[in-house]
Symmetry: C2
Subunit: 396 residues, 2 copies
């Protein structure tokens, strides 16, 4: 596997350091695993990265020692990284690192990633650090710095919103590969007489055979009436000749997620199916037509929503029009209705997101169409490429 080149990691860390300085923070404790990967190429189910003005310190446990050595040997770790091994609990190791690391007094943490319980524990330990032990510990043991934990929000996510050229190339390649899987799958796998689960298992197999590390989320195969459930799991239902089938799947390629949905009719589609399909395709076109750097995300959402409402399907579309893609399959920007409490999100060049309106009619079925795009100064670049107009009709 290849990773982001170390000079790119260095540039990302430098950007975070500028953000920390602007926020008057001496360091940031990065707990969110995709954020750790973003700066270090280190991917695991546990880990903590502390980023200070002049140090980059990764805490990891035994299970990952060999993986870290391998990354280092292949030149994929940042040059300046120091690795500390966790033998007991991560929180204990973190307190020790914060007390003795010379970071400075104001240490940020990721408020959306640290639980109330964990924060309570850390804050209590740090509050008592530097105080003399009851048994009269020597002065030397009390050299610990007093550290104040400061809740921060989205510092790293703000950096991750706009993808760099390396990331865009990975996402383009991922989009190409997922599209190829989709083209095959829609012809060969999504057929009548198979259970949704069996279809989903075949899709997942093909996603991996196409070079993805894993599916990006639990593959959705929703057939017949189940297609009216926007987030149906693949279930035991066996597809039938007159079904609409919504197929929504994704893959993780070199750490980056892509996501695609198509809807097909098994057998000759009815007029009502064709109308529903055309309405959703038209809503997707309307949204895609508004994507451009500088446009607020809720304007793109409204384009799809208004089009469906014009066609009498306003009530049938309850979810958002899209979401950002990157190291997570749902990340910023959210392409949805504007929330009164939140500032509007403006699209920016280099953002990558899905555009996926749908219409769901309980008892009848549903249609969703989803593609992935890169936001550009003039509009957008599609990174998925699967026939859409002919889809419903020609596969029958």
């Amino acid at each position: 596997m290849t990773f982001a080149p170390p000079d790119l990691l260095r540039a990302r860390v430098a950007r975070l350091r500028r953000a920390l300085e602007a926020a008057s923070l001496d360091a940031l404790v990065v707990s969110h695993l995709p954020n750790i990967f973003y700066f270090s190429n280190f991917s695991a189910s546990a880990g903590v990265l502390v980023v200070g003005a002049s140090r980059l310190y990764l805490l990891a446990d035994f299970r990952y020692s060999a993986a870290i050595d391998a990354l280092a040997a292949d030149g994929w770790l940042p040059d300046e990284i120091e690795v500390g091994r966790v033998d007991g609990s991560y929180d204990q190791a973190l307190v020790r690192a914060l007390e003795t690391g010379g970071w400075g007094p104001r240490v940020g943490f990721e408020g959306a990633r640290v639980s109330v319980k964990q924060h309570g524990w850390l804050a209590a330990r740090l509050a008592t650090s530097g105080q003399p032990e009851g048994d009269g510990a020597a002065q030397a043991d009390r050299s610990a710095t007093a550290v104040a934990l400061v809740s921060t929000d989205g510092l790293v996510e703000a950096l991750r919103r706009r993808k760099d050229e390396y990331e865009l190339d990975v996402l383009r390649e991922a989009g190409r590969r997922l599209s190829a899987v989709a083209r095959d799958v829609l012809h060969d796998v999504v057929v009548a007489g198979r259970s949704e689960q069996a279809i989903a298992a075949d899709i997942d197999w093909r996603v991996r055979a196409a070079g993805f590390e894993r599916p990006a989320f639990e593959t959705i195969v929703a057939s017949g009436p189940n297609a009216a459930l926007p987030h149906a799991h693949a279930g035991e239902r066996v597809t039938e000749a007159c079904d609409l089938v919504v197929v929504d799947f994704g893959g993780v390629y070199r750490g980056y997620c892509v996501d695609l949905t198509r809807t097909v009719a098994l057998g000759a589609p009815t007029e009502r199916m064709i109308d529903l399909y055309r309405a959703v395709a038209s809503a997707q076109d309307a949204a895609l037509g508004r994507v451009r750097a500088g446009v607020p995300a809720h304007v793109v959402d409204a384009a799809a929503r208004d089009r469906l409402a014009e066609l009498g399907l306003g009530e049938a579309f309850g979810h958002g029009t899209g979401h950002g893609l990157g190291l997570e399959v749902h990340e910023e920007p959210r392409i949805g209705k504007r929330r009164p409490d939140d500032p509007p999100t403006e699209l920016d060049a280099g953002m990558v997101c899905t555009i996926e309106p749908g219409a769901y009619l309980p008892g009848f079925g549903g249609v969703r169409l989803e593609d992935d795009v890169i936001v550009t100064p003039d509009g957008c670049e599609m990174i998925t490429d699967v026939p859409r107009d002919a889809q419903l009709l020609s596969l029958t």
Copy 2:
């Protein structure tokens, strides 16, 4: 799909209500999705359940309306549940529900599942609720109850630790099915000349074909030197004729997770491989021999750890001996070294856990063996059943 019968859900809710009363709480906001499923059979990627003394209130958004209707129609929802639809943000809907629900003043939340950011937002909103609006809102709008949020820890997890008979039956069936997959896979799929990723994709396909909803975690296929990495992902490496291969995979069946590991040699194993394998098998036997209701979990861990240390492999075993299984693939009890700050965990009849010691020799490879057991008053009941002694030798 079938679910826990509603009278069982009622009994679980009743147990939680007793726990709330003991903690002087008027209600609990359940945020953790497996905990919501435990009380309601409702499974989703978002949702909040509020459990009060006389109300059970589920918040869910548009995407799940049809799924909830289907659960209700099939009689799988608790009788007393009320469903509130979330149209904006969950947190806003939750504040409204807490202010107007008549729950009482002391409302617990799950401290390990709520982030510092989310808690800050909720607490700020609840603190200002009941105060007159600036535009002079009518008295009627100010009838809201003042609510204090109280951090709780593991209230629901404590109930989930001991499985009820329904859960044990599901887990037994899941163990049978996963064992059948393992027996096939080890003969047909784990062979020389295939990439780890290809082997993993085939395993996942078979897991689903065996009736599992999905793999329980990212399947590990670690071959040759990679077998020394306890948490290796399946990668691009192509297996070779002299490899040890660690295969660790699991499945989710009716919501419940099982997990199994075997290690095989491709081709004739060397003496060193055989010794390593026998050492780990012996450590697993030692740990299994100590599992019994009333035994502290760290004693079971020590049995495996001490055996490996006696055989000169103390340094080669860095992870814990096992973990609980249930609605999550890692849950209580943790079978590991005792942590000085934590009270010891005592095993109890009806707990379900893995026993999975391993030994990892960097540059050479590794062995891990994992089975799943139900803790009983007299020992344990194995719910996985895959040949182990002959494994390394006869498959070559």
